[in-house]
Assembly symmetry: C2
């Protein structure tokens, strides 16, 4: 059985990427990151998702934010509300965190060496997150090239590292369809940029809007629980 | 004045890389990492070196070791003693830490974005550390290619990231000569893989042997203080 590392944030995309890796027969080590306060509910979600998926193990790395500086996911900046997809894609969002996927993938590369894995899965998506450079195919390809020169394992001549981004060209609706077909229980996933500690979503940030649209387009009911009760079932 | 990030471990190479960056007129943010117990004296050295060099600021990031697993720099593995340079280069050393430079450079890339810097300096050396894949020119070039696709700043069209490894083709003796010529006070630097908390070197690990050889080849006296008093001035 081949080993793989899956970056798992606890959202729809990474949870579906984990399901894809498991469906391909990989023995998965899930890797999550603890950084800042807003996303604590995501980590709780990630633990439940990893357990449900039958992973080999789940590693949670603490990330020191001193290099990141100011960002809406870590500081008290207002997350934009009720934007259209066109507005989301017009510029790099304030929720952008400098070099985040590069740091996440670098830790995944370290864990891949230790777990004797050649395959790293990441649930990035170039359509819904076109404002983030580190979600684009050319970035993923360049990271893979770098990774193949970076470690003892990847330069041994016996192994080569592959970065899998199976959802990179999919819409949110397609991702939800793929996950549903693979049996993902989306009730554990959290998408909201400012979810409450109890895991309830705001319903208004970009991530909430994209998620709701994706479920609607599939004619599926979204199990998200919202902070405002009037959002339930919308 | 252009901004730069310099990775600073507190050893001879990174201290010389910092002096090179300052000599080229860069306004430097130094970046160091705290990981594990053995290298605490290195951080004390790094703080003194950064201050002496007149950096803009010095950021110290805590690294969570859970992704790294077993390594001589973090666990209680015996560091090899009294090896020849040929023995050092015969295989990847047990002091190798998976993907370490990739993780360090990734944080540097994040800090470069926040500090509005396009230039990152790293004191890697392909001659003395030929067993480490992430010290080789092809690795540095691949990281630079990836970095140019990774951040908002580097993909803006107005800036491009450069990874400078000014010492990559230099011998230890040449590095010490370059540093001396730039006025580096090597008494603050620590090279030893197992330096004591007071900053005294063992005199027997690969790093101690390479350092001593480098000073000898320049006819310079090495200000290193050793744990065993009979090593002083050897």
């Amino acid at each position: 059985m081949r080993n793989a590392i899956v970056l798992l944030s606890g959202g729809v995309d990474s949870t579906t990427a984990l399901a894809v890796a498991r469906s391909k027969g990989f023995n998965v080590s899930a890797l999550s990151f603890a950084y800042g306060q807003r996303h604590k509910s995501e980590l709780i979600a990630a633990r439940a998702i990893a357990r449900d998926a039958g992973v080999r193990d789940h590693v949670v790395i603490e990330i020191d934010l001193r290099a990141f500086g100011r960002s809406a996911l870590t500081d008290e900046i207002d997350v934009p509300k009720d934007r259209s997809v066109e507005e989301m894609n017009a510029a790099i969002p304030v929720t952008y965190v400098p070099a985040r996927n590069t740091i996440f993938l670098s830790y995944a590369l370290a864990l891949a060496e230790v777990r004797e894995a050649n395959d790293i899965f990441i649930g990035v998506n170039a359509l819904d997150y076109s404002g983030y450079p580190d979600c684009r195919p050319e970035y993923i390809a360049a990271f893979q090239e770098m990774a193949r020169r970076a470690t003892a394992r990847s330069t041994s001549g016996e192994h080569t590292v592959s970065i899998h981004a199976p959802l990179i060209h999919k819409t949110k609706a397609e991702i939800i369809r793929i996950g549903s077909d693979l049996g993902v229980d989306f009730s554990h996933t959290i998408s909201c940029y400012q979810a409450s500690e109890a895991g309830r979503a705001c319903g208004h940030c970009d991530a909430c809007i994209l998620r709701r649209k994706g479920f609607e387009q599939n004619g599926l009911s979204d199990p998200t629980r919202y902070v405002e009760s009037e959002m339930v079932g919308s």
